[in-house]
Symmetry: C2
Subunit: 454 residues, 2 copies
Amino acid sequence: MAEKVVIIGGGAAGPKTAAKLRRENPDIKIDLYTQEEIISYSACGLPYYIENIIQNAETLIIRTVEDFQKQNIDIHIKQQCIGVNTDEKTALFLDLISGNKYEVNYDILVIATGAIPVLPSISNINLKNIFTLRTVQDGINIKNKMKQSKRAVLLGGGYISIEVLEALVQNNLQVTLIEKNSHILKMFDEDFAQMITDYIIGKNPGQVTILTNEEVIAFTGNDKGEVKSVITVSGKEIDTDFVVLGTGVKPNTDFLQGSGIRLGIYNSIKVDRTLKTSKQGVYAVGDCTDNYNLVTNRYTWVPMGSTANKEGRCAAINIAGGSCFFDGILNSTITKYFNLTISIIGISYREAQELGFQPEFAIVTKRDKAGYMPNTGTMTLKLIADKNTQTILGIQGIGEGDVNQRINTVIPAILSKTKLESFMNLDLPYSPPYSPAIDPVLNAAQIIYHKING
Amino acid sequence: MAEKVVIIGGGAAGPKTAAKLRRENPDIKIDLYTQEEIISYSACGLPYYIENIIQNAETLIIRTVEDFQKQNIDIHIKQQCIGVNTDEKTALFLDLISGNKYEVNYDILVIATGAIPVLPSISNINLKNIFTLRTVQDGINIKNKMKQSKRAVLLGGGYISIEVLEALVQNNLQVTLIEKNSHILKMFDEDFAQMITDYIIGKNPGQVTILTNEEVIAFTGNDKGEVKSVITVSGKEIDTDFVVLGTGVKPNTDFLQGSGIRLGIYNSIKVDRTLKTSKQGVYAVGDCTDNYNLVTNRYTWVPMGSTANKEGRCAAINIAGGSCFFDGILNSTITKYFNLTISIIGISYREAQELGFQPEFAIVTKRDKAGYMPNTGTMTLKLIADKNTQTILGIQGIGEGDVNQRINTVIPAILSKTKLESFMNLDLPYSPPYSPAIDPVLNAAQIIYHKING
């Protein structure tokens, strides 16, 4: 049994590992190091803090340093890991307050350093009021600036940009979103990305501009060193009060160079299904690890707070001598833009084609309740199945109706590779306030089944 | 290929069969006979019509007689089937208008006669204002009487009684519900039934009385032949303006005596997975058929509008020469009492014990969204799994939070017998407006897994 566990990283996965490990083992020594000042917070809630749905940033903190100390977990804030020596079982830290470097011994090391924003190569990117959104402090900075602003530019059209867009629109800003691909939300098929774009534009006409196939090549600044405008490759100059970079993230693993810990796709840390790395005594959890995609049977990297929590829990059980397996993911994601739920699970039709599946699809637009009930909402679902195996590869769903109920119904069927023939007559509970007599997701499965089988 | 298809029954399954068959085959002759005047309606919506969430009963009609005639489907209303001769391939009908009897030939017969209320043996049950709720006319009668009433008594504590209770409470009636078992909603475990009871009583204090372990032995009437009170076995006399009998239903199959068509459990019609009965050329669909329970691997009888629609669709495909299998059900049911969602899928802990499983359970009470989001709702889930197979046997869920999303997530896992070990780390999509980072249903699975495996 290990005597001393050192955890690096204070976002979601590290604190989860610490808390679960303490519940599993009241005696083991646990030290958690983080570069930040705040630990154990929900980064996924930051857009709602900016929007002011959540008034205080402290609300996003799940457990404080004091909470951990009560559990006899020592938290070391503002301490950056700059190297790991797996032969000596030591981690090298830089004290961000004093500037001193020092070594820490471990029996078990848990790396939970998360992901960090990728800064694009754009001239003058170091101007003031060009933000990324990853930490609580980032959120506070953006919210403060937003309150004094009328215009903003968002770079990148991923989920975080959509969530920040809602926040800024709700706070009456004029926003331009710039996406280099032909459509936003590139994990979706183009038809769905277009429907989402149309909803965003239609919801607040004149307030939001979405530029696709467009790239920012430079920022201009004023004499205070603040960003003043963005210049695009097509020659546009867009005046703005601030910029939020939603141009992607990468695993925070540069400090592992030379440690011998094996890295995988996009330099994420390779872990097995027990969350062990290639080096004895070293675990990795959360956004810094690779993920096994159970649909494509390939390794991928999809940093998600839910996965981070599950991995942290699982690693803690294993460190404590128990047995927990984290087999992989299904690329499950969901967000919203005001009342529109936006979700994709598994792979898109396009990706299925690229990966060599023989995909078929069905698109249905249906009400979420019996048609005669009040307050029904509509939804559009795109179900993707493989002709050869007759199993479901993915689903995309958007709508003001109850999309997430349908999405969640498909997920275990993707995992278990349930045949369409069984799935399309699945006994979903029916009552007029909850669904039509035949649920929309079953309609979609019936259509694909008959497209494939006649 | 059949030339003439005769369908008996005009509720959900019969009209669904007719409509789907016409889409599959534009030429085949289709005749549908029903005892009622109205066809193709949603009986499940009747409580919401009584409540006046739906103002007009016509809203519940999915397709009218004229709609069917446009599709070249002949509808014969007020015609009761009183016998079937499968050797001669004829059905004997009674014209409820003229009183004449006549025979009809068929190539294919589809029996969709549904279920009818069971009238308990209670003295004076034929008094006026003692209603059952099955047809649109029943709904109209109850609603009309309710508008002039201050008090009502409901017999039986099943789903329909709970739905009618909501309707009457919303319309300011004083209601007494009388249940002969020790708790209402007997398919639930007693703990959940009690929580539901507490919610009902607490929601409108003083307005609802629930009497369990109680039976009605007689009704008393006034000089107009209208019910005036109910007398219970324990000696209570409860004054009332009307009574609704929610004392169960039975398959409407008495007319098949002597036909040679094999009946199964509770005299429901035995069908195979293609919806064929034991007699060549005769199909049966909907509430009059038996059901195969895919959890218990036993035949059961669970009349549900959703199953009726699926069976009707499937039978039509098979009659048209295609191939569709309806493998069975999972006892999936859901309803609501005002804001409380009430659902059970599969089997309860008690039923699992009775059937010889080795059940384990977990109960969790959780919020449906990230705790820091506004407008979260709570839910209580009880997940049941089998220790031997480590698969899920059932789930019960109640709450004002989004219960149905979690319930639906479990259903495909029950169908596919997914191991708890896989299910508990299922990649459900996470975003603060939709769920906590680890979904409540996964919390429940984790707890059971560790109860079983340490």
